[in-house]
C-alpha cells in the first residue's frame, strides 16, 4: 500500500465548513432541548449605589411568567468562583450601569421580554465614577505585580540629552468585542448535574468557574461548545450570565434558554478599556534608539482589576539601552475590562509604532530602515535568545511585495483625484506559548479500513482547530483525512488549553501529535517487532490485526522552550485614500507579512490574519464605545451606533507567511496567528493617514472629523 501524502501545510477546506455553510453547525442556542423556558436578564439603570426596592408585581402577573429571580430570592453563589465581572444577584449593591439585577423566566421569549419591561426599581444613587478624563490623574499603581514599573538604564538622562525625540500621548477608546453570536446559554439539569450549552473559548475554565460559582464539583457541570460564534476574548473568561442560566433552570425545574440581547452585550461580558499612553522616544542622529518610555494610564472595575498589557510590545520590539514601562489604573463604575483581540499589544503597538513613525519622520529616515536599525538580537526584556525572529525579513519582503518604493517620504505628495493617498508601515508581535493539553486518540479497524477519533476539550471559534487537528492526526497516524474525526468543545473530553492568547494551535496540535506518536510507539511495542522503516499507526493496525486501540497523552511544552523568547512577528503595510473634502478614509490595500513558525493550513491561516487586519482597520477607523459621564451608560449600545467594519470598508487584503522553521518553540514549530494579525494594523493605518494628509491622529478611531 502506497504512503498517504502529508496534508499538514496544505490549504484544505475547513473540515467544519460544510456544517457551517448548510446551517447545521449547532451554536449555543441551536441545541434542541425539550420544553424550554425563556429567560431575560434585567439590568440596573444606575452605575453606582444600592437597590432600595424591586417592584415586580406587574411582571409576576404578566402572562406566561414563571419566575422572577433577584438578589432577594437568588440562591447563594460563590462570587469568587472564577466567573468574571460579578453581577451574580448576590447583593443590592450596584457597581456599574447595566449590572444584572434580576432574571425573568417565562413560557416564551416574547412573554419574558415583555415582563422584563414591567419591573420597576428604586435606588439609593451614588455619584458614579465613570469620567476617565477627570479621573485619570487619580490613577494608582496596579495590584498586578506584572504591571509594576519595569526600568532599564536611565531614561531621563537619555531623553534630556537627545536631540531627536518624540514625546506624545496616544488615546485608544473603550471597544467592545461584539462577536456575531451574543453570549447565550441553554441550561438543562439532570438531578444535581447540569449541562450548559454555551460558547467557551476555554472549555475547562468555563466548567470549573461555573461549578465553583454554583458551589458544585466540576464533574457536576458539563460545558458543551462544539461551535463558537466568535469570541475575541469575550468568551475566554466566562461571565455571570452562564451561571445565572443554570440558576434559572434550577429555579423553574426545566431547561432554560438565556441569551444576552445585543444591547446587553455592552455591559455584560467585558470590554477593552480606554488607554492613555504616553510614549517618549529618543534617538541619535543616525537613528539609534537611546530611550523608550511607555506609560499607560487606564481604568478597571470598581472592585476588580484587569489591565491589558499595553507596554508588552515596547519590551521586546526594539533595542535600546534605556527603557521604562509603567502602568497606572483608576477603578471606575464600568464592567470589568477583559482580554480583547491582541490584548495590550494592539493598543500598545498603536502608541509605540505611531511614535516610531513620528521619530523616523523627524530623523528623515525611512521608517523601515529606522526599525531595522534598532532590531534587537536578543529579547531586550530578559536577555534570552529568540527562538526565531523574522522581523527584518517581514519588513523587507513586505516592502518588496507592497511596492514601498512608491511611497513619498513627505506627506501630501500623492494626490489621486479628490483623494490624498498615503502609505504606512508598522511592526507587530505576539508571544508564542504552548499550554498543557491532553488528547485521546482512538483507532478502529474494520477490514483494511482504519479510522481515528481524536478527542480533547479544545475550542474552535473560527480559528480552524477542527481542520488543523484533522490534518495533524492524519499525518501522524498515516491516514487520509476523511478517516479522522476530531471531537472537541465538550468538558467531558480530556482537558485542553483555551483558544486564547494565540496558544490554541500550538497547544492542541502538539498534544494531538504527541498522542499519535505515543500511540504509534505503543503499537510498535505491542507488535514485538523491530522495524527498519517505522510503519504508521494505520499500517500497524492492519499488519497486527488490531481492531481497537487507544491512547491518551498529557502534553506539555518542551522544557527547553523556557530558555528562549518566542514570539510571532509581522510587518504591516497600509495604503489609504483620504477624501480631501469629507475626510472619509478608505484602506485601499493592506499587506501583512508574518513569521509565525509552521503554518499548518495556509487557507485558514490566511483567514486568521486578514480577519485580524479587519479588526485592526475597525480599531483604526470606526470602533468606539462612548460612555455618558453623567450616568455611566454606553450611548453606543447597538451595532448601529458601534461601527464594526462592513464589507465595503475593506479593500484588498493580502497575507504572506515567512517560511520559518522554529526548532525551539515546540515540537511542531507552531507559533500561533490569532492575535498577531490585529496587533500593528491601527498604527500602520494611522501612519498611512499621516503620509497621505500630514495630519497625525493620536486618538482612535480616525473618524472623518479628525482629519478635516
Amino acid at each position: 500500500m502506497k504512503d498517504i501524502p502529508k496534508v499538514t501545510g496544505t490549504p484544505i477546506n475547513r473540515i467544519d465548513g460544510i456544517a457551517k455553510v448548510t446551517g447545521k453547525a449547532p451554536y449555543s442556542m441551536d441545541h434542541p432541548v425539550k420544553n424550554p423556558a425563556y429567560a431575560i436578564l434585567i439590568k440596573s439603570t444606575i452605575a453606582s449605589g444600592k437597590i432600595q426596592e424591586i417592584d415586580a408585581t406587574a411582571a409576576e402577573k404578566a402572562p406566561g411568567v414563571i419566575a422572577i429571580i433577584t438578589h432577594q430570592n437568588a440562591p447563594k453563589l460563590n462570587v469568587k468562583g472564577g466567573l468574571r465581572g460579578g453581577a451574580l444577584l448576590q447583593s443590592p449593591e450596584i457597581e456599574f450601569f447595566g449590572q444584572h439585577i434580576g432574571i425573568v423566566v417565562a413560557e416564551t421569549f416574547e412573554q419574558a421580554r415583555y415582563a422584563s419591561r414591567l419591573i420597576t426599581v428604586t435606588y439609593d444613587k451614588k455619584e458614579p465614577k465613570v469620567d476617565f478624563d477627570n479621573l485619570a490623574d487619580q490613577a494608582r499603581l496596579p495590584k498586578d505585580k506584572e504591571k509594576a514599573d519595569a526600568r532599564r538604564g536611565d531614561v531621563q538622562k537619555a531623553l534630556s540629552q537627545a536631540t531627536y525625540k518624540v514625546e506624545e500621548v496616544y488615546e485608544t477608546p473603550i471597544e467592545h468585542h461584539h462577536p456575531m453570536e451574543p453570549h447565550a446559554t441553554i441550561a438543562e439539569w439532570n438531578g444535581d448535574h447540569v449541562t450548559l450549552y454555551n460558547s467557551a473559548q476555554i472549555v475547562n475554565g468555563a466548567q470549573t468557574a461555573t461549578a465553583a460559582t454554583l458551589n458544585l464539583k466540576p464533574e457536576q457541570v458539563r460545558i458543551v461548545s462544539p461551535y463558537i460564534g466568535g469570541g475575541f476574548g469575550s468568551k475566554g473568561g466566562q461571565w455571570a450570565n452562564l451561571a445565572l442560566a443554570a440558576v434559572a433552570a434550577k429555579y423553574v425545574n426545566r431547561p432554560v434558554k438565556l441569551a444576552l440581547t445585543r444591547q446587553q452585550m455592552v455591559n455584560s461580558v467585558g470590554l477593552r478599556q480606554h488607554n492613555r499612553q504616553k510614549i517618549s522616544l529618543a534617538a541619535t542622529a543616525d537613528g539609534k534608539l537611546t530611550a523608550l518610555v511607555h506609560e499607560t494610564t487606564t481604568h478597571c472595575a470598581i472592585n476588580d482589576e484587569f489591565i491589558e498589557p499595553c507596554g508588552d510590545c515596547s519590551k521586546v520590539m526594539y533595542d535600546t539601552p534605556n527603557s521604562l514601562i509603567t502602568y497606572r489604573v483608576v477603578p471606575m463604575n464600568l464592567i470589568l475590562p477583559t482580554y480583547t483581540r491582541g490584548p495590550g499589544k494592539s493598543t500598545g503597538s498603536f502608541a509605540l509604532e505611531s511614535a516610531m513613525d513620528e521619530l523616523a519622520y523627524k530623523l528623515k529616515m525611512d521608517p523601515i530602515a529606522f526599525r531595522i536599525k534598532n532590531e534587537p538580537d536578543r529579547d531586550p526584556s530578559n536577555g534570552k535568545p529568540w527562538s526565531s525572529r523574522a522581523m527584518v525579513q517581514c519588513l523587507q519582503e513586505g516592502a518588496k511585495a507592497f511596492g514601498w518604493e512608491n511611497r513619498k517620504f513627505e506627506p501630501r505628495q500623492n494626490q489621486q483625484g479628490n483623494y490624498w493617498v498615503g502609505y504606512g508601515v508598522a511592526a507587530g508581535t505576539y508571544p508564542a506559548h504552548q499550554r498543557p493539553t491532553s488528547a485521546l486518540v482512538k483507532l478502529k479497524r474494520t477490514g483494511d479500513h482504519v479510522a481515528a477519533t481524536v478527542e480533547l476539550a479544545a475550542a474552535d471559534l473560527g480559528t480552524g482547530t477542527y481542520t488543523i487537528l484533522t490534518q495533524t492526526a492524519a499525518d501522524a497516524l498515516g491516514l487520509p483525512i476523511q478517516n479522522v474525526n476530531v471531537i472537541i468543545g465538550d468538558s467531558d473530553l480530556p482537558p485542553a488549553a483555551g483558544a486564547v492568547g494565540s496558544v490554541g494551535a500550538a497547544s492542541y496540535a502538539n498534544a494531538v501529535n504527541d498522542a499519535c506518536v505515543k500511540l504509534t510507539q505503543e503499537l510498535v511495542t505491542k507488535s514485538g517487532k523491530q522495524f527498519f522503516v517505522r510503519p504508521t499507526a494505520a499500517q500497524l493496525m492492519r499488519s497486527e490485526k488490531i481492531t481497537d486501540f487507544q491512547t491518551r497523552v498529557d502534553s506539555k511544552p518542551p522544557e527547553r522552550a523556557e530558555d528562549y523568547s518566542s514570539h510571532s512577528f509581522n510587518a504591516n503595510f497600509a495604503e489609504v485614500a483620504v477624501n480631501k473634502s469629507t475626510g472619509m478614509i478608505r484602506v485601499n490595500r493592506f499587506l501583512a507579512v508574518t513569521g509565525a513558525g509552521t503554518i499548518l493550513n495556509p487557507k485558514t491561516a490566511r483567514s486568521q490574519i486578514i480577519g485580524g487586519n479587519v479588526w485592526g482597520i475597525g480599531m483604526a477607523l470606526t470602533e468606539e464605545s462612548v460612555v455618558d459621564p453623567r450616568w455611566g451608560n454606553f450611548v453606543t449600545r447597538s451595532l448601529a451606533d458601534y461601527h464594526v467594519p462592513t464589507n465595503l470598508d475593506i479593500g484588498q487584503l493580502d497575507a504572506i507567511f515567512i517560511n520559518e522553521k522554529d526548532e525551539h518553540v515546540n515540537t511542531l514549530g507552531v507559533k500561533g496567528i490569532g492575535e498577531v494579525g490585529i496587533v500593528a494594523v491601527a498604527a500602520a493605518v494611522a501612519n498611512a493617514v499621516f503620509n497621505a494628509t500630514g495630519k497625525r491622529v493620536r486618538e482612535l478611531p480616525i473618524t472623518p472629523d479628525k482629519v478635516l
Partner: protein, 260 residues
C-alpha cells in the same frame, strides 16, 4: 486592482489533470487554487485531498437533520394568537403564533430551523437574512404574522439533497467565514443578490444610476456595497467577495497562498 484574475487552465493542463485524476477533474476546474501549487499538491496527494473533502461533505450532509415536527405550544403561551400558513424550504406549515413573534423566532423556536441566526435582533447585522418571496429580508424585523401565504427560503433549503448550492460551495472553497455564525445570512444574502444583479439593480457605488437596466456585471466593489448589510466580525470579507464573484462571474477566482 484587487481582482485576482482567475487562471484559465490550458488544454494541456486540463489533459494532465484528467489523466492524473479523472474523477476529480470537475472539482479541479472549479478550484481556483494557484496552478503551480495545485500541481505540487496533485503530485503529493494523488487526489486524496479532494476525495477526502467530499467524504466530509457526505458525512455532514447525510447527518440526520435536527428538523422535527413544529413545536406546538400550550394555548396559555399564546397571546393574540395569529393563524398563519407559510411555505418554508418547499414545505407547507400551518401554525398559530403569538402576534409578537418574529419570523426569525418562528423558524428557530417553532420550526426547529436554527440555521438563521439572531445576531442583533434589530436589523443591524444581517445574520438572520432569509429569502421571502424571492427577496432577501431580515427575519428579525419581520413579524411571522405578516408572512401568511409567503414562501420562505432559509439556509437549510439551499442544498439539493447532498448537493451544495454553488454559493455554499464557493464559500467553502474560498473560506468565506471563520466562526460561521453570520454565514447562513451571508449566503442567503449572496444568493438573492445575484438575482438582483440579473434584474439590473443598481447600488450606491454604481457610477451612473441612469444607465438603463438589464443584467449587470458586478465589480468587487459593487459586491462589497451590496453585501454591507451582512456584518462578519471575524473579517472574512475578502473571501466572501471572492466566493460571490466566482458564482456571479461563472469563472474560478484564484486563491493565492503566499509565502516567502
Amino acid at each position: 486592482m484587487d481582482e485576482h484574475e482567475s487562471p484559465e487552465l490550458t488544454e494541456e493542463e486540463k489533459q494532465l489533470f484528467a489523466d492524473l485524476m479523472p474523477d476529480d477533474l470537475a472539482e479541479i476546474m472549479n478550484t481556483g487554487v494557484n496552478r503551480r501549487h495545485f500541481l505540487k499538491l496533485l503530485t503529493l496527494a494523488g487526489g486524496g485531498i479532494l476525495a477526502a473533502q467530499s467524504a466530509v461533505a457526505e458525512r455532514v450532509l447525510t447527518r440526520p437533520s435536527r428538523e422535527t415536527l413544529p413545536v406546538e405550544l400550550a394555548p396559555s403561551s399564546l397571546e393574540n394568537g395569529v393563524d398563519i400558513g407559510l411555505k418554508v424550504n418547499g414545505k407547507a406549515h400551518k401554525l398559530t403564533i403569538d402576534s409578537r413573534m418574529t419570523l426569525l423566532d418562528t423558524l428557530r423556536e417553532r420550526l426547529n430551523l436554527t440555521g438563521s441566526k439572531k445576531g442583533c435582533d434589530h436589523g443591524q447585522c444581517g445574520a438572520c437574512t432569509v429569502i421571502v418571496n424571492g427577496s432577501r429580508v431580515l427575519s428579525c424585523l419581520t413579524l411571522a404574522a405578516s408572512c401568511e401565504g409567503k414562501t420562505v427560503q432559509t439556509i437549510e433549503g439551499l442544498a439539493q439533497g447532498n448537493r451544495l448550492h454553488p454559493m455554499q460551495e464557493a464559500f467553502l472553497k474560498h473560506d468565506g467565514f471563520q466562526c460561521g455564525f453570520c454565514t447562513p445570512g451571508q449566503i442567503c444574502s449572496a444568493v438573492a443578490l445575484l438575482d438582483e444583479a440579473k434584474k439590473g439593480h443598481t447600488s450606491y457605488v454604481t457610477g451612473n444610476v441612469r444607465q438603463p437596466g438589464g443584467p449587470v456585471k458586478l465589480s468587487n466593489e459593487e459586491i462589497r456595497e451590496r453585501m454591507s448589510g451582512n456584518i462578519c466580525r471575524c473579517g472574512a470579507y475578502p473571501n466572501i467577495v471572492a466566493a460571490i464573484q466566482e458564482v456571479h462571474s461563472g469563472k474560478p477566482v484564484e486563491q493565492v497562498f503566499r509565502s516567502a
